[in-house]
């Protein structure tokens, strides 16, 4: 916790927003009967990365932010140090 974090505690709203975004991205795709885009991307990215470095499935975060004109796809992969050297 930073000094400013202590003076001005960060609220829980950003957590709520991020949880909702991830949840609704999943629910929207499954409601429309389309394959779950996020799950598919996650799997294919894992396969591609896995060819070169070893990553743990839970260390891969894939998220989509829906905007009016464009949507952005953010992929966050944590590569263990040993894995990176392999």
């Amino acid at each position: 916790m930073t000094l400013f974090g202590w003076i001005k505690p960060r609220g829980s709203a950003p957590v709520a927003r991020d949880r909702l975004k991830i949840l609704l991205a999943h629910e929207r795709s499954s409601m429309r009967g389309q394959p779950d885009l996020l799950a598919l991307l996650r799997e294919e990215i894992m396969t591609a990365i896995g060819k070169h470095v070893s990553v743990l499935p839970e260390k891969v975060q894939v998220r989509v932010d829906r905007g009016e004109a464009v949507s952005t796809l953010a992929i966050d992969i944590e590569i263990p140090f040993a894995g990176a050297q392999a």
């Binding site: 829980s12 709203a13 709520a16 927003r17 909702l20 609704l24 629910e27 409601m31 829906r66």
Partner: protein
Amino acid sequence: MAQVLVVTSGKGGVGKTTSTAALGAALAQTGQTVVVVDFDVGLRNLDLVMGAERRVVFDLVNVIQGQAKLQQALIRDKRLDTLWLLPASQTRDKDALTANGVARVIAELKEKFDWVICDSPAGIERGATLAMRHADTAVIVTNPEVSSVRDSDRIIGLLDSKTEKAEKGERIDKHLLISRYDAGRAARGEMLSLDDVLEILSIPLIGVVPESEDVLRASNVGSPVTLCSPASGAARAYSDAVRRLKGENIPMTIPSDKKRFMEKLFGRRAA
């Protein structure tokens, strides 16, 4: 041409009935004829919120099943002669509503009124889908809270697939009404902000109703908040929403209750 509006949300307790009564009364005050229809068969409450609970003789189910004529079931508001109520049945369940019966009643109401406002029950079952079935416009009532936002997203999906308009390939007009909003808590990051909810649901905003003591007082006395406390923040939010529904372009504000000096100083509880 009559407009059919559904007030819906998915989640219960977010303010659908309060909003139906407040929007209906505000619309009727502009001189247009309005009927508010309670679709919550088995758990009717619009009559109570409108202060007409002792005047109910026949209801929507009676009309659908041919036991009463529409004129016999309609209740005229005692304060506004352009506002009418069609109550739901308290003793039946939602299966008493039939698709054909609802279609017939809505068609008949459209001939008599400028606005038909359908107060949807919570959930996504028969009552809710029949309430939205014939709508031209939807007002989705959402609280800035995770479960309400999630359920609203689900309802938006249903509005785009299960309504008559959607099935004909047309688009239903969808408007977001955020209720129980606390601007202070949102600014401190304790509550989802307007921008958060708008970004997630991505439908246009029709109004922001602040958390307000006047809303409870209005339901206590059986009067829509727009009639009971017209100067309150909540009433002004609903009146602005009605002007936007009618096509006026007015800037979006979050009306707040004007607190008296002592209340400001000590907070409402102490005052």
